[in-house]
Amino acid sequence: MNNNIYNYLLQLADSSLILAQQNGTWCGHGPILEQDIAITNITLDLLGQARNFYQYAAQIKNEVDGSSSNTEDSLAYLRGEREFRNLLLCEQPNGDWAQTIVRQFFYTIYLESLYAALSNCEDEQLAGIAIKSLKEIKYHSTWCSDWVCRLGDGTEESKERMEQAVDNLWSYTGEMFIPSDIEEKVIAAGFPLDFPAMKSQWLQKVNEVFIEATLTIPDANAFMQTGGKQGIHTEKLGFILAEMQYLQRVHPGAAW
């Protein structure tokens, strides 16, 4: 079981780390100062949440292996592309501000119901991380929803860009609600993850906000891309990892 929890923790950590890495490139480039600060604060929360999952994963791995060589850093910097289990959504390009907002909105709404479920997990440490993270995610949720409305129900151009962003990203949303092997295993072991319920909560919230934003919600049964949770990624992830891991790969163990 420990190995399954370890793998599940990596899945959680990888998605938030990769999205944080992507969002981080907005730092200093946000459309206005306040929003530059907002997106980087959200990024900091995601990175912190990823760190908590990696630290816990490293602890489990060390116990299983009887070693002390696994750390949050080794897990983030020294695993290859095929070992990353992040959602494909998180590795999609920043695009314009609209695409960044839509990507963040889809992911945030998903995390909201995921962390709410994990808050009741019997694994105390995981539940503790989820409870703490959920408090942070609620702020993200309000912020993202406001921006979806502002841009969706904004100017002709902002609406058009939002529609384009939704169109670009929609096929990467289905994967969130299709349990992977690892998720099936932790569910079998008693993790309180109800995928159909999370999907309907997600669709309901997206629908609510899209109505207010005067955006059309695409077909939930459309063709969906999968593979991220299995380590089969889009081309983009290799580039993200190359940049993120460069220093530790070229100068192993480099520290401040």
Binding site: Q35, I37, D45, G48, Q49, E124, I131
Partner: protein, 161 residues
């Protein structure tokens, strides 16, 4: 619990609390870590090791690493060698744990302290309640940005968490 300790241990615990009072939040230096409410307990374990239990504020708050280092340095400087810092996640940290003194210190420093309820925080400069939210995210993970509609001064609000 404390009564089960001998006099020397009780004195040590007292000393540790006093030392922790002297450690401030690196991002809001007017607040001590006790004002913030992140130190949950100071105890001895079965091996007579001092266990300091702290609860992190925000997942990604860079101040937490700094605070841990400062606690270790302060303990070492006071000659404590047999101790451990433990992170406690449950229950999650909440701004309800911030002390009243802490809230007063924040206000005097120009940051509106966390408050429950839906009304906007009052301006820490002119006390006006006519304030508006500029951004839910501010200069650090724990703050939002408001502006006073009377004195026009922008100010940080320590978010309720």
């Amino acid at each position: 619990m404390e009564s089960t300790y001998n006099i020397a241990q009780q004195a040590s615990i007292k000393k540790v609390w006093a030392l922790l009072e002297g450690i401030s939040d690196p991002e809001i230096p007017v607040l001590s870590i006790l004002d913030l409410g992140i130190v949950r307990s100071v105890t001895f374990d079965a091996d007579k090791k001092i266990i300091i239990s702290i609860t992190p504020t925000y997942s990604g708050c860079p101040a937490m690493d700094m605070i841990s280092i400062n606690i270790r340095l302060a303990m070492a400087a006071e000659g404590f060698k047999h101790f451990e810092l433990k992170q406690t996640l449950i229950p999650a940290w909440t701004t309800d744990w911030m002390t009243e003194t802490g809230k007063e210190k924040l206000k005097a420093y120009g940051i509106a302290p966390p408050k429950s309820g839906n009304e906007n925080p009052a301006c820490p400069q002119c006390k006006s309640e006519n304030t508006a939210l500029l951004s839910q995210f501010g200069s650090t993970a724990c703050k939002a940005l408001y502006q006073c509609q009377d004195c026009r001064e922008p100010f940080d609000y320590f978010k309720c968490h």
